[in-house]
């Protein structure tokens, strides 16, 4: 994962609350088996609307999304984070995030910073009054700077450290492999195993046919 300490880029005001992951990337785009190339899928349903914020020239190259509360609710699809990153976003700011989305962001180097709703309103006003305004997000000081305004944001300490160091979770965990092996030795025998497989007898499943 790439290290990130500060980021400066065009801020995009998204005046919507409860932006769920089906809006960030609809399910039809989840059929791909790759990890990149999702930029066309971001906000797919809204991109057809000429008045949508990303269709306005000043915001098109945006990399800091400033959204309403409860951003990223719904499904666990990490594709939502990939789509934001593939489009060019490096930071999403909102007063509240859905838990899974926030976790996924941290794993993929997308900064999900929590900003008080009144400060979000302040940023929206700046970004709408002066489209194309650049926003600087500083993980060191945990601040967001736009125009003449500086506001704080919150991010959990561990995620912040990992983002700044660019560390891979699996590598970190495997440093504790001896602990995992020791834990496994203590597991009770009743805990289930999927192998060897046990199931009821195999039965032929009749295919349903279209109703004429």
């Amino acid at each position: 994962m790439e290290k990130i300490t500060t980021h400066t880029g065009v801020g995009v005001p998204l005046r919507r609350s409860n932006v769920d992951t089906d809006q960030i990337i609809p399910a039809v785009y989840l059929k791909r088996v790759t990890r990149t190339g999702f930029e066309d899928a971001l906000f797919a349903a809204w991109r057809g609307d000429p008045s949508f914020v990303l269709n306005q020239d000043a915001y098109r190259t945006g990399s800091v999304l400033v959204a309403g509360p409860d951003f990223g609710t719904g499904s666990s699809r990490e594709h939502a984070v990939w789509a934001l990153k593939d489009y060019g976003f490096r930071v999403v700011l909102a007063s509240r995030f859905a838990d899974i989305f926030r976790g996924n962001s941290g794993k993929q180097g997308l900064v999900a910073g929590m900003v008080a709703q009144e400060d979000i309103e302040l940023l929206w006003k700046i970004l709408e009054a002066k489209p194309g305004t650049e926003v600087t997000v500083d993980l060191e000081t945990r601040t967001v700077h736009a125009d003449d305004v500086t506001v704080p944001f919150q991010i959990d300490e561990y995620t912040r450290w990992r983002l700044m160091e660019g560390l891979d979770d699996i590598g970190l965990t495997l440093q504790n492999e001896a602990d995992i092996t020791a834990f496994e030795a203590t597991r009770a025998p009743w805990r289930p195993k999927t192998l060897p497989a046990k199931h009821l007898p195999k039965v032929e499943i009749e295919p349903a046919r279209p109703v004429s």
């Binding site: 809006q23 790759t34 499904s75 666990s76 859905a98 976790g103």
Partner: protein, 491 residues
């Protein structure tokens, strides 16, 4: 120290306690895998040259993309077929057990785990799917994870996690006839909001919860995520043990006795302290239906569509205006006057055998409303077999419904089962987001009983709107198990 159920399960899985702000490292007992959120995770393992650490704690099935018609033919949608082929190849390469389309144990991953007896009290269960919260009905700590975490669990069988906060949701009293566990959870979400559970594990308790069957409990825990919570739990009891006993992977002999002894300790202590408490009275509940585009935008069926100008909070008002425009509803109109084009009965929320039994009980001997399309999609192939053994398929077909093969189907429209733009559905699924069931589609979330009544009348309806025969026993709709007819038990 006194602990909650969630804290007890958490502590029993601590591989390593986090220090200095680092998260805890938690052991994962059961990892369920499906085709949509796993390909990039397996690819990550391959690139790093890592094996699956515990194939014997991993299970894969195909559900999101699978067609519900002509399942013996090649999948027509090329990208869907590629995704399913990718899962099959990954399962083979990494030695993971898989139940593929056409297999009797194929189906929605949250039905397959429980029906095989793999989901048990006191486990940690994860899957790259937010509705993994379903398994919490057994007293497991179960939650959805993203693809990076799927890769992490495949590689290490652990997850680094910061502890959740705990919320007790107590549902007192008895459900009135015609109300179900779906109405309980829709009412909870309307009360606490779609963000109300963020950061929490919800524990559902109280008399109304204790009286629910295992499957009805799964419906409640399933939709914990719609309240913003990653996990929902219900303490295991005799209902849980009864459901598990004799299932293929349930412990046997001494292991069963040891397990039950331990499972009985899995309850929040009387003096345990929750970070938040919410109380609901089941007797106040009636059939619930959503009118908007998030699951918190719900009301009792007897209510009218909200009038946005009467909503004080600006954010909520704007959101309601947008939702009504998308849904094509007039402010103030009675919800009962809303006509639907499609009724979808299925999903990991309400596609289980008891759901199908209760629907069949209402539909028996009737015909669907004209111009309404009715889809009945069992959650798994075993549920389908069970329903057929009980003759439910005949009831559905005589009613005019389409009886399909198992899968996620129209819940999220990744397969051909979709709404067309402007098409309106009463759906027993879990999300009414814009475009969720197909681009431009309009979704009203309902219980199986409301879905059944709506399929008969063509407008959003409850059992109270039907002229039900006297011999239809309404009390058996309160979530207590509906007995099967004379038939072998598959699920």
């Amino acid at each position: 120290m006194a602990g909650t159920l969630a804290e007890k399960v958490w502590e029993a899985h601590l591989v390593r306690q986090g220090a200095d702000g680092a998260p805890d490292l938690l052991y994962i007992d059961l990892h369920l895998v499906h085709e949509v959120t796993s390909p990039q995770a397996f690819e990550g393992l391959r690139l790093a040259g890592r094996p699956v650490r515990r194939p014997d704690l991993t299970l894969a099935t195909e559900d999101h993309n699978t067609p519900t018609l002509d399942i013996d033919l090649p999948i027509a949608d090329l990208t869907s077929r590629t995704q399913i082929d990718t899962l099959r190849n990954n399962a083979k390469e990494f030695g993971v057990r898989i139940h593929s389309l056409g297999d009797a144990d194929q189906g929605i991953v949250h039905q397959v785990g429980p029906q095989l007896g793999l989901t048990m009290p006191g486990l940690t269960v994860v899957c790259g799917d937010s509705h993994t919260s379903t398994h919490g009905a057994f007293g497991a700590l179960a939650f959805g994870i993203g693809t990076s975490e799927v890769e992490h669990v495949l590689a290490t069988q652990t997850l680094p996690l910061a502890p959740f906060k705990t919320m007790a949701i107590t549902v007192d009293g008895e459900l009135p006839p015609g109300a179900t566990s779906k109405d309980i959870i829709l009412a909870i979400i309307a009360k606490i909001g779609t963000g109300g559970g963020q950061g929490y594990v919800l524990e559902y308790r109280g008399e109304a919860i204790r009286r629910l069957s295992m499957e009805a409990r799964m419906t409640i825990c399933n939709m914990s995520i719609e309240a913003g919570a990653r996990a929902g739990m219900i303490a295991p009891d005799a209902t849980t043990f009864e459901y598990l006993k004799g299932r293929p992977h349930a412990p046997e002999g001494e292991d069963w006795d040891a397990a039950v002894e331990y499972w009985k300790t899995l309850r929040s202590d009387d003096d345990a302290v929750f970070d938040e408490e919410v109380v609901l009275r089941a007797s106040d509940l009636e059939p619930f239906v959503t009118w908007g585009t998030n699951p918190g935008q719900g009301l009792p069926l007897s209510a009218n569509v909200p009038v946005p100008t009467e909503i004080a909070d600006e954010g909520e008002r704007v959101s309601a205006e947008r939702a009504l425009e998308y849904m094509g509803l007039e402010p103030g109109m009675p919800l009962r006057d809303v006509t639907v084009d499609t009724v979808f009965i299925g999903s990991c929320t309400n596609g289980r055998i008891e759901d199908l039994r209760s629907v069949a009980k209402v539909l028996q001997g009737r015909r669907k409303a004209e111009d309404v399309r009715v889809l009945v999609v069992p959650a798994s192939a075993r549920v389908r077999l069970q329903a057929e053994a009980e003759g439910l398929d005949v009831i559905f077909k005589e009613f005019g419904a389409e009886w399909r093969n198992a899968g996620c189907s129209m819940c999220l429209g990744m397969n051909p089962d979709q709404l067309t733009p402007g098409e309106r559905a009463a759906s027993t699924s879990n999300r009414n987001f814009e475009g969720r069931q197909g681009k431009g589609g309009r979704t009203h979330l309902v219980s199986p009983l409301v879905a059944a009544a709506t399929a008969i009348r063509g407008t959003l309806s409850s059992l109270a709107d039907l002229d039900l025969d006297d011999d239809v026993d309404l009390t058996s709709f309160d979530g207590t198990p509906l007995a099967p007819l004379t038939a072998p038990s598959f699920v």
